[in-house]
């Protein structure tokens, strides 16, 4: 049975696209057939992060509007043959998406893929509502800072009211992916802690991705970090999150404070006091 996952956040720049690509690659490496769909019509990025920007011919809008067949628009990843990308259009806007058309595309994708990862645009407007509309599960990407947490809370409210599942009175699983986390700064009170975020959002934790330069490096070379640098802490955290998404029980190790020098410890203590 296929599973439609929306990766969403409300706020921009928190790591939705990076997380969509990384989770997609992790799930594909585990053997599932995965497609990652870019819903950010007009500001497409997923093709760049997945290194497929020079292979885009048709896109989501073409398929939604019936100008192209789905197999024409799907781009198969060169590194993993069971990972595909359905890119967004860069020249159109979000109004080009219709509920009927998106529903048809999702139904067609369900026939050939195990996981359909919908990379939502930022905001709460049409692009975001279309991305979440047909979801079975939601991954809420949040940074440990107040504005991101509040926007995520807003999105959770929408997931509970504006999705097909919610309207049918069914449960839509929502899980938190905390990205750009820095345990040291959280310990010093400069950043919200995991507990702070969980207390406010009150949804289960899917994973914690530490702030890491490896993530940006992977994005810049157009390769999901789980493929580019599988040994990195961030890649392992995404792999764990993907396994939890598949229903496995993987113990979650709360990131410890990185080893720090004497001076840092000294200042850290001062700030905490």
């Amino acid at each position: 049975m296929s599973n439609v996952v929306v990766v969403t956040s409300g706020k921009g720049g928190v790591g939705k696209t990076t997380s969509s690509a990384s989770l997609g690659a992790s799930l594909a490496r585990a053997g599932s057939k995965v497609v990652v769909v870019d819903f950010d019509v007009g500001l497409r990025n997923l093709d760049l992060v997945m290194g497929a920007e020079r292979r885009v011919v048709f896109d989501l809008v073409n398929v939604v509007q019936g100008d192209a067949k789905l197999p024409q628009a799907l781009i198969r990843d060169k590194r993993l043959e069971n990972l595909s990308l359905l890119p967004a259009s860069q020249t159109r806007d979000k109004d080009a998406l219709t509920e009927e058309g998106v529903g048809r595309v999702i139904d067609e994708l369900r026939e050939s893929f195990d996981w359909i990862i919908c990379d939502s645009p930022a905001g709460i407007e049409k692009g975001a509502t279309m991305a979440m509309r047909f979801a079975d599960t939601a991954v809420v990407v949040t940074n440990p800072e107040v504005s991101s947490v509040r926007d995520s809370d807003r999105i959770i409210g929408m997931l509970d009211s504006k999705t097909c599942r919610a309207e049918r009175g069914e449960r839509l699983e929502k899980q938190l992916l905390l990205t750009r986390y820095d345990a040291g700064r959280a310990a010093r009170g400069e950043m919200m802690t995991v507990e702070d975020v969980l207390e406010i959002l009150a949804i289960p934790l899917l994973g914690i991705i530490n702030e890491s330069p490896d993530v940006l490096t992977a994005s810049n070379v157009g390769c999901p970090i789980t493929l580019h640098n599988p040994a990195s802490a961030a890649a392992r955290a995404y792999d764990d999150a993907a396994r939890r998404l598949m229903g496995e029980t993987v113990p979650l190790t709360t990131p410890r404070q990185e080893k720090q020098g004497f001076m840092a410890r000294l200042f850290g203590r001062k700030a905490a006091a």
Binding site: I124, R150, D153, I156, G157, D160, I200, A202
Partner: protein
Amino acid sequence: MDAEAITLPTIRIRGRSFMAMVVAPEFPFGDWFAALDRQLAGAPGFFADRPVVVDLAGVLEAVGQDSFPVVLEGLAARGMKIAGVEGIRPAHLAGTAWADLATNLHGREVPLNPRAGAPPPAPAHVPSLLIERPVRSGQSIVFEEGDITIVGPVASGAEVIAGGSVHVYGALRGRAIAGLKTEGARIFCRKLEAEMVGVDQLYRTAENWGPDLHGRAVQVRCDRGALRLLALD
């Protein structure tokens, strides 16, 4: 005669105006009386000890003068003290049991005190709304009919507006406004981290209460025209 006149006391007459209720029955009478009965059931004492003036102009126009006794008896049977009628000429009631009702009353329209008015303040049953999930940012829960009880948190950027009191069994991080319709409403929360609270048209934002209340169980009430936040623990 003269002697008698001297011993009799002087009659003193004072003028006083009373407020009379004006009711205007409408055709078909079955429906109108059913609606009246429902309203009386909600506020049984509404017409007690109040003079009632019956506006029969509509009845005269719809079905004519023959139905006047029926209508008036229907009202009297419900305990209304009919002091007069208006909208018709005295001749219309001639020959009926109601012929001596005053037909030429003067008065001016007075707005009714809404509290004395129809169903809303029905004291017997105060409805309440129970919400058993977190109220998320951007959501607005409005329940003007009564109290709101929330089992869970109210997020920053969410608002809860109640005609009566607001009870939050969780952290209140957004806005809560109580007492839209009733006096004496309060806000209760397990953990005050609110952006704004308001009771009885008075409100206060977070920067106007001390940090010592932050994070505590608090009730908010209106006391002699001032908003008070009191710790519960």
